[in-house]
Amino acid sequence: MPTASPAVEIDGLVMAYGDKVAVDGLSLEVARGSVTAVLGPNGAGKTTTLETCEGYRVPQRGTVRVLGLDPQRDRAALLPRIGVMLQAGGAWSGVRAVEMLEHMASLHALPLDTEMLVERLGLGDCGRTPYRRLSGGQKQRLGLAIALVGRPELVFVDEPTAGMDPQARRTTWELLEEIRADGVTVVLTTHHMDEAEHLADRIHIIDRGRVITSGTPAELTRGGRSATIRLVVNRPFPEGAPESLRAELGPETEVRQLDEVSMLIHGPADSTTLGRVSRWCEEHGVLPQTLNLGQRTLEDVFLELTGRELAS
């Protein structure tokens, strides 16, 4: 697609609530036609950044351009061109799901076929259900349908799969991939690294209101000093196994027991670690059936950059 200007351009954005700084000099760009994930822990400033792009908040410092427009000054020109999925709410409590979608469709000149959206998002069963009785996942799917119904050029989706079961999550991912293929730019926030890895062309990891690293999923997970090792053994681990294994491997390693025969080990990605794990197994009378050096994940990237865990 020919690109006059990036879909989103944020330069040096600062947003504070009282003396709490939510966004602290954040800069990023979103190319047209891409899926961009803004990944970070809760409270990192993701929603505030999105809401500034959507025209809800006035930048306190820095500039924000969306489709080349100023979300404040050019609000009336911008709003019909973007789709917004809020993190929560957005509908009357007594409105029926399909009625709400049809209402939002009626505010647009050339809306999508609402029946098609209802079918694609599996909202048929709850079409006549009042909003307040929808499940969390149904509300999320309705929110996504509302964001898409006006055939926007650019959609902002805030935590699109929060509260969804795995199947709905998969359906949502497929839909987001399809709208990207059809030429819609997608900006999504998430704190699920697998979601960002699966969907995004480009990921911006943000923490404490700043972009700490950006790149394609492959760029971000290439190389690195640590990895996750998955260990499955032939019989239950003895009592106190995680602590004893951790003592063997050293303080920079983390060990988490998943069930009685498997553990996740997070630590240096080298053969010394693997050797020590096998020796420990031998000493404790268990036989490794899987000893798997996993690929570096975004979780590892985040941990290395901040010293903290991403997922809550």
């Binding site: 061109r81 509908a91 007594g94 505010l107 647009h108 055939r151 030429g183 819609v184």
Partner: protein
């Protein structure tokens, strides 16, 4: 699946279409909501039927008129107040709480379109209420004055329009400034207090010394303007001015304080 189902083709509908859609939606939701319907229709009907029955049993009349002729205009005023003030305040308060106003704020519907839609919905519901209550009044033997029908119609139209404007502006002020629960409580409390002592249903003159205050309240002014039009075939200029002043004050307060989220 056709190719490029989601190909971008953005654009808002015309303002007229958006406002009509918004007003239809809001009116539908108002009439679907049980509590709001209670306020809009059931309570005014009970007040009217009960008031006329009680007056008939005790055999009183009001200012030398039959009770039904005085009470019906008052109940019409009550209906305007219930919808324009209480329903608007409560529904708008919860729209803020549930993020409806936020979501619409990112849609092509501009804020003035949202307000226009609200006003239209409100006028539709008020019209429906008035039709129902006029029928109930006529069934109870109500005989509005026919001395000067043109002046009566003018007086009623002005009273309903200015009364709706005044109460809706005040309702939006409350909804925009307070939390949804506080709005719910306050809007209902104010409604009950004004219904009982605000000069809506009963003429302000029946309140004795308090009447000098009550006639300056929006409730008293609306009640008096309706009674003047429907009992005496007059246009009550002073009450209409009072309503206009309340409308201006409410609009000013709302514009200064309303928070969309």
């Amino acid at each position: 699946m056709s190719p490029r189902t989601f190909a971008p083709a953005p654009g808002g509908a015309s303002l007229r279409r958006m406002v009509l859609a918004q007003s239809r939606m809001e009116a539908r939701l108002m009439l679907r909501n049980g509590e709001q319907l209670l306020l809009a229709i059931v309570i005014p009907v009970i007040v009217l039927v009960g008031g006329v029955a009680a007056a008939g049993r005790i055999g009183i009349d009001l200012d030398g008129h039959r009770a039904v002729d005085i009470l019906t205009p008052g109940v019409l005023a009550l209906a305007v107040m219930s919808t324009a003030f209480t329903s608007v305040a409560i529904s708008t308060g919860f729209e803020r709480r549930y993020g409806v106003i936020k979501l619409l704020g990112a849609s092509p519907l501009p804020r003035h379109g949202l307000l226009l839609g609200k006003v239209l919905a409100l006028l539709n519901v008020v019209a429906l209420q008035l039709v129902v209550l006029v029928v109930v009044g006529l069934l109870l033997g109500w005989e509005p004055t026919l001395d000067a029908p043109a002046r009566t119609v003018l007086g009623v139209v002005l009273a309903v329009a200015l009364g709706t404007a005044a109460f809706a502006a005040l309702g939006l002020f409350v909804a925009g400034a307070l939390r949804a629960e506080a709005t719910l409580a306050l809007a209902n409390l104010v409604y009950l207090l004004l219904m009982a002592g605000g000069g809506v249903v009963l003429p302000t003159s029946t309140y004795g010394a308090a009447s000098t205050v009550i006639q300056w309240l929006p409730s008293g002014a609306l009640g008096e303007a309706m009674r003047t039009a429907l009992v005496e075939a007059g246009v009550d200029g002073r009450s209409l001015l009072v309503l206009a002043a309340w409308a201006a004050l409410g609009t000013l307060l709302t514009a200064r304080t309303f928070r969309w989220e």
